[in-house]
Symmetry: C2
Subunit: 318 residues, 2 copies
């Protein structure tokens, strides 16, 4: 198999090509499927089949517009083995459409078990392997638990997103306490930045990346300053309450260095008052409109607008 | 569906019935399958099929001997959707054999995503649901991220094992730092104990349980004292370096309150020098011998030996 380019460089290229840092979260729910895909069945295999159709249609809509999607594994796992098979099919469809895939599984374990998780999702093995572009991982078990993920991702041109600071209120419990002058999330951040610097490619960014919620804009700004080689995945834009101006803190001065996830506001776009008329056979149009709207919001408030200019300045590094 | 008894009570009953706190970890690896099950194929579906046979045969051997098994999800996930299907089949086989199942998936997420993970593995839904007895979960995202797991487990007579203090050296990085006089793992422990007390059943133990590694015997002892309603799952016995006397600290004075996991030393028992002659068609015998040996080691060094006496004192609470 051909070696794959550095993950961070590929992601930066994709952000530049689509001129947006927007990532669409694939979080299907049985009760929120659009009319044409809704099923009364409670059988996991039927719900999983509906999820697959739903996500593949969304992928078809957003593939020309955004650099990546982020499937949330929990919703597929909820439908048992059939759900996982559906997710696998969705990931293959993304690959065919040229969309990068960040699997949101928040995995974490130690030693050979961590190696197994990393290989499971990031290794480019036989035809039936996932070979996702990146996976979200939890740091709680310690830095040695992340090493296998870093090694396997390096070998496979993949990336990992370490949960540094999450968007929920309870993230204060174990991420915020200050020991020896540093908050716990700052300890994680330091190690992530160091590994990002070591794996930095031509883009200046590394394959070890960070999840940082949009709901803590001041911390986001401080982390941006102290983690110059680290790409941020910023969840919480849209439905979770983070505004575009909060999110603006995540970018470097060239409008790079972060991707921003929006899920519900896009994939269930026909649920909004103004798009209720698209709830039936035109639900894909609602998804497209909401995607374009989110791209515009991000362009208006964040340095991402510079991406358009950047295209006109070839050769200038950013 | 019939309501299921409190998880902690069911587990305590199973420990008493088998007279041992030993749990067998199901961590299959393609390179370590016994001769009759070994495959040269690198195709995930074939490896997954071998894993299923391997684990079901182990289950047949250990079902009369131990209260529970702990399948490590990572090794099944490594074989893609086929691996998950194999694990699902193994879990059904455990149920038929009367073995409790603790799924080791170390899941964790927030809000409705956490609900999806909890339902995925713990809900007793349609015939195709996992309905495991318990799931391991990570606390990094905060206490609000664990609430959905607690609620779903309560509703389904299931349990969760929160990663309080893991056995790897790197667990010091984010579990040990001391903020406001308390180590991070102690903060987690306090919340776990409080939820365990709230969900305590007739056994005195609750459905919110803790993973505490055997490699930190002093901390194990302190946690035992401060968490009187919390069942401990102690990994690291055997291959990871924890001895039976280290593990002894995990039990209350009646020999209850903890289960002890051993994986590699049991499931790959024919790899040891003394059992190499069983590596072929008698590998199941090696598994049985190693299981009985581990049970004996635990009886010799830990309060679990009192379980035998306890049987003779019906009505005495312990």
């Amino acid at each position: 198999m051909q070696p794959r380019q550095n993950f961070a460089d590929r992601l930066c290229d994709a952000v530049r090509a689509r001129k947006t840092p927007l990532v669409v979260g694939l979080d299907p729910r049985a009760s929120q499927l659009p009319e044409p895909l809704r099923t009364d069945s409670t059988h996991p295999a039927e719900i999983a089949s509906a999820y697959q159709k739903f996500c593949c249609e969304i992928v078809d809509v957003v593939a020309p517009l955004v650099p990546a999607v982020k499937p949330q594994m929990a919703f597929f796992e909820e439908q048992g083995p059939a759900g996982i098979q559906a997710l696998w099919n969705v990931v293959q469809h993304c690959r065919q459409r040229g969309l990068m895939v960040i699997l949101d599984g928040k995995r974490g374990d130690i030693g050979s078990t961590a190696v197994a998780y990393a290989r499971a999702y990031l290794e480019r093995g036989p035809a039936s392997s996932w070979a996702a572009d990146a996976l979200t991982v939890s740091p709680w078990l310690g830095w040695d638990s992340l090493q296998p993920f870093i090694e396997v991702s390096q070998e496979n041109g993949a990336g990992i997103f370490v949960l540094v600071r999450t968007s929920n209120p309870g993230s204060r419990d174990f991420q915020s306490p200050v020991a020896d002058g540093r908050a716990m999330f700052e300890r994680v951040a330091e190690l992530v930045q160091s590994a990002a610097a070591e794996s930095a490619g031509a883009s200046g960014y590394g394959n070890v990346c960070a999840v940082v919620g949009a709901t803590w804009p001041e911390e986001l700004k401080r982390l941006r300053d102290s983690m110059p080689n680290t790409i941020f995945l910023v969840p919480g834009f849209g439905a979770q309450g983070g505004t575009a101006s909060d999110v603006a803190q995540a970018f470097d001065r060239h409008g790079m260095g972060a991707i921003v996830n929006s899920s519900r506001k896009i994939i269930f776009a026909w649920e909004s008052e103004s798009r209720r008329h698209l709830a039936n056979s035109d639900w894909q149009l609602a998804v497209e409109q909401a995607t374009l709207e989110a791209i515009e919001q991000l362009q208006e408030f964040t340095p991402a607008r510079n991406l358009v200019d950047a295209d006109k300045r070839p050769g200038e590094s950013f």
